[in-house]
């Protein structure tokens, strides 16, 4: 899939990541799919955004972060009733998948992320978003 096939209103993406290089690379990938991007540096910042009433279509969430880990943040976000937001757990090590999925993530992507897997995920989110607006 190419970035030119992505249509509709922009996907609102939240990146929850404390490592600048990871956040920068993922932001660049998502920008190619015309996403609106917000970056939170830890799980607590991510939860605060939802408490402030911000809405996102997709969250890319790291696991180990200061203040609050990814799985803990995901649990709290789901507990706020945010059942529709697509949550992607991202971390090194396949053995970490279970902690994300148990917390309520929809997908797990191991690091380093293969960039060509992001496009189909964004397209799926966009399709769902545009179908719900019809």
């Amino acid at each position: 899939m190419t970035t030119s096939t992505v249509q509709g209103s922009p996907v609102k993406a939240l990146i929850v990541e404390d490592t600048p290089i990871h956040a920068f690379i993922l932001s660049t990938i998502l920008r190619k799919f015309h996403c609106e991007i917000t970056v939170a540096e830890n799980g607590n910042e991510a939860v605060q955004l939802f408490l402030e009433g911000k809405k996102f279509d997709i969250i890319f969430c790291d696991k180990e972060m200061p203040v609050m880990s990814g799985p803990e943040a995901i649990e709290k976000i789901r507990a706020l009733g945010e059942s529709h937001v697509k949550i992607v757990g991202v971390s090194a090590g396949y053995d970490l998948e279970q902690s994300f999925m148990s917390a309520g993530a929809d997908i797990f992507l191991p690091k380093p992320m293969k960039f060509d897997v992001v496009g189909p995920i964004i397209q799926e989110v966009m399709n769902k978003k545009n179908n719900s607006m019809v």
Binding site: T19, P20, I21, I25, T28, K32, E64, A92, P112, F115
Partner: protein, 151 residues
């Protein structure tokens, strides 16, 4: 100026980085993200990487001097550094990170110290080689006068 020769030199330099094991396939993935909208993306990623990894190495050096030995903290720092190395494809650095973590797991202080020294050497070598590579790219580029981010 012979730009095609400079580009050949840059290509050869990059091939050397892969052949010598300094970089792996992930670096090519990063390169694939560079386009007209982000013409210096790869170099920007490299600058971020060396800033971040330098900080983590410094944190680790300080942690290694403290008592009692906190292998969990050392491992946490190294896990972060390993993640950064993976993102840019810094293969030899990543290997040293993994060796350090192994030594952490065994409680081997001397092993950890040795790995850290090797890691610092690989960090310095990769930084020098990538700086030279990007400098050549800038000279070989269409304008030949791109601004130089501070690494």
């Amino acid at each position: 100026m012979d730009y095609s020769n400079l580009r050949r030199q840059a290509a050869s330099m990059k091939k050397g980085l892969f052949d010598q094991g300094h970089l792996d396939e992930q670096f090519r993935q990063v390169e694939d993200l560079q386009d007209e909208a982000s013409p210096n993306f790869v170099e920007e990623v490299a600058v971020l990487f060396f800033k971040d990894s330098g900080r983590l190495i410094s944190n680790l050096e300080q942690a290694l001097e403290k008592y009692p030995r906190d292998f969990n903290r050392w491992d946490a720092y190294m896990q972060q550094l390993k993640g950064s190395c993976s993102s840019i494809g810094a293969s030899r650095m990543k290997s040293e990170c993994m060796s350090f973590k192994d030594n952490c797991g065994k409680g081997n202080v001397e092993g950890c110290m040795g790995c850290l020294q090797k890691l610092k050497r690989e960090h310095a070598i990769l930084r020098q080689k990538l700086e030279s590579y990007f400098q050549l790219l800038r000279q070989a580029g269409p304008t030949g006068a791109a601004t130089r981010p501070v690494m």
